[in-house]
């Protein structure tokens, strides 16, 4: 059952990712990305990381992608402008195929036995457990992230605000 869901969702997320890259309309791309986020959320839920699954939807599908759509609408992008030349496409496909092959070989030779250390608790993935680990073991990365977000915020405001002179 779990395997079946994994396969279906995995295939769907790969499919939607392809649509996202290949679609001519920006809105289609954005909506495919939303679908990818959904599939990923399901995959997280399968790993019994329910909090992460919900946050995936809340943050990515619900917030970030809405902003994407907002920008697309603000610029009123209808369709990719200009004629696309397809001559370069072969090189990209070739490169992609090589990268994919390397990836398959590398991942295929990996043994998937055993679970990563310290993740075997039966309360794994619950909000309380994630919160606990976030505020103890991972307190430093957590705080650096807040600095990172503040820097990004300040940078964004500094770049777009009107300077009153």
């Amino acid at each position: 059952m779990e395997m079946a869901i994994f396969l279906v969702m995995g295939a769907l997320s790969v499919g939607f990712s392809l649509v996202m890259i290949l679609a001519r309309k920006p809105v289609t791309s954005a909506m495919s990305l939303v679908a990818v986020m959904f599939c990923l959320a399901v995959l997280f839920a399968l790993q019994s990381a329910h909090l992460i699954a919900i946050l995936q939807i809340l943050v990515y599908a619900g917030a970030i992608m809405v902003l994407f759509l907002f920008v697309i609408m603000l610029l009123n992008l209808r369709e990719k402008e200009g004629e696309e030349s397809h001559t370069k496409g072969y090189g990209q496909i070739f490169g992609g195929a090589i990268a994919f092959t390397i990836l398959i070989v590398a991942v295929g030779s990996t043994s998937m036995s055993g679970s990563p250390a310290g993740l075997s608790s039966d309360r794994f993935g619950t909000t309380a457990e994630v919160g606990k680990i976030l505020f103890t073991k991972y307190i430093l990365p957590f705080e650096i992230t807040s600095v990172l977000l503040l820097a990004a915020l300040v940078g964004a405001v500094a770049l777009v605000k009107l300077r009153m002179r």
């Binding site: 590398a106 043994s111 250390a117 073991k137 991972y138 307190i139 430093l140 990365p141 820097a151 770049l159």
Partner: protein, 484 residues
């Protein structure tokens, strides 16, 4: 109330970072209450923070410790690089005072972003965990994306910001993907643990190699090694000159530090796989950087290619590795910070408002109109070219002997050849300054405020006097290397 047991953490270990972040936020708050004329004072607040952080870093030298669940490490290696970053930040702040006022981009955000970037470098340098390193790198990069586009009125600056952002995000994605593969293979993110697990268990080695390769691409981008250097010329040319100076020093040093830590700690068992890649990178980076720099008309662009070449020299030290190679790298990073920021300070002075005079020909006759400035530029260019007895010479000397010491004879020869090529384009500027017919008028009297004079004096000290008596700094660099 149920209490959650906290792991052993030592807040004192991150005191320098806390100082910088606190100062950045204080500056943001002060900015609200300062009138336009008082904005310069914000620069001095930032400078004070850099000073305090420097003091704290020096205090921590010699007492290594690991804290925050082994995610953060304080050692002399990180201390040395942090001092280099602080030096770069301090000099940049000083040379920004006049520049930002002229360009109308003065404001608290500028300095707080500089401090945030420096904080990011600190976490990168001290990160003993893939997560910490990546977050530090992102903090640094995002601040720099914004700073590169800070001169919003100039199209070139916007272009620089966008290009840097898109390519930088791509390289971060590469690095993160690589890190996730290493995590997938090892099951941990701690560098020591990764080394231990990979060393014991060879069955996931292919995944680690792929991950390591992707991480290498990410770092190569950050240190602008060929062929991941495409962004450098445009970004260096378009960004405000002080920011260009900053980018060429601190972030590069921090990226090298994290590079060394990840590859000579976590991935040490793959050494024989990656040294050949780094060897090729070093040769390509030096050669391509120097050759393209030869034909540049814009001085900022020329320095961009020259900084690519310098990254190549430092990679020579990385290829050599060992105590000798690492200490030579550290020493070179220090000297490079002095001389490159000094040279950019002079470029900023000559460039004047709006950065209109940034072509090499704008330096014509500078040696006669402003003899002292000309002399300073000559000293810095000599040092960059590596002409004895400047510090630049000694820096290169140690790098190349480290390579020879490890038996990389061809690498050393190629590097030496490259330094000869480099002399051409540095000398060209000097030739233009002294031998080309004088044209254009003198710089206005207010072009030399005390702040920028201090920057140039510090740069001269670092690139000339340090060359004559490198002892103390060299010893410090030697004692700071990771390898024993």
């Amino acid at each position: 109330m149920e209490m959650i047991p906290l792991p052993q953490i030592s807040v004192g270990a991150i005191a320098p970072e806390l100082t910088l972040v606190a100062a950045a936020m204080i500056i943001l708050m002060l900015e609200v209450f300062t009138i336009s004329k008082g904005r310069d004072n914000l620069a001095y607040v930032a400078l004070a923070a850099v000073g305090v952080a420097g003091y704290l870093v020096i205090e921590s030298l010699g007492s290594p410790m690991t804290t925050f669940s082994k995610m953060y490490v304080v050692d002399d290696f990180s201390g040395f690089i942090k001092l280099v970053c602080l030096l770069g930040a301090g000099m940049t702040i000083l040379m920004s005072v006049k520049y930002t006022r002229d360009e109308g981009i003065d404001g608290g955000e500028y300095y707080s972003l500089l401090l945030f970037a420096t904080t990011g470098m600190f976490f990168m340098v001290s990160g003993a965990d893939l997560i910490t390193i990546f977050l530090g790198l992102e903090t640094m990069s995002i601040s720099l994306y914004a700073l590169a586009g800070y001169a919003r009125g100039r199209l070139a600056s916007n272009e620089a910001s966008i290009k840097y952002f898109i390519l930088g995000a791509l390289s971060s994605a590469f690095m993160l993907y690589g890190m996730s593969m290493i995590y997938g293979a090892a099951g941990v993110t701690n560098l020591h643990e990764i080394a231990r697990i990979i060393g014991q268990n060879k069955e996931n080695i292919h995944l680690v190699m792929l991950g390591g390769g992707l991480v290498l691409i990410g770092f190569a981008f950050k240190i602008s090694a060929v062929p991941f250097h495409m962004w450098t010329p445009d970004v260096y040319q378009g960004a405000p000159t002080p920011i260009t100076a900053f980018m060429s020093a601190g972030p590069k040093a921090a990226a090298f530090a994290a590079f060394i830590r990840v590859f000579s700690d976590a991935l040490i068992s793959l050494q024989y796989q990656w040294w050949i890649i780094v060897w090729i990178l070093a040769v390509l980076t030096m050669t391509v950087g120097n050759l393209i720099a030869l034909s540049q008309e814009n001085i900022k662009r020329m320095f961009a290619y020259s900084s690519i070449a310098h990254a190549g020299y430092i990679l020579v030290g990385f290829t050599a590795g060992g105590k000798l190679g690492e200490s030579a790298m550290l020493f070179y990073l220090l000297i490079y910070t002095f001389m490159n920021i000094g040279a950019f300070a002079i470029v900023a002075i000559v460039g004047q408002q709006g950065e209109e005079r940034t072509s090499v020909s704008d330096f014509a006759g500078l040696g006669y109109r402003h003899p002292l400035l000309g002399l300073a530029m000559v000293a810095l260019l000599f040092s960059l070219a590596g002409i004895p007895p400047t510090a630049g010479f000694w820096g290169k000397y140690y790098l190349f002997t480290a390579a020879l010491d490890q038996g990389y004879v061809w690498l050393a020869i190629l590097a030496a050849l490259n330094s000869v090529i480099a002399v051409f384009y540095y000398l060209r500027v000097i030739v233009v300054m002294y031998m080309r017919e004088e044209k254009g008028e003198s710089l206005p009297q207010n072009a030399f405020p005390a702040s920028i004079v201090v920057v140039i004096l510090v740069a001269i000290y670092g690139s000339v006097l340090l060359g004559i008596t490198p002892g103390g700094y060299l010893a410090l660099a030697a004692s700071s290397s990771l390898a024993h």
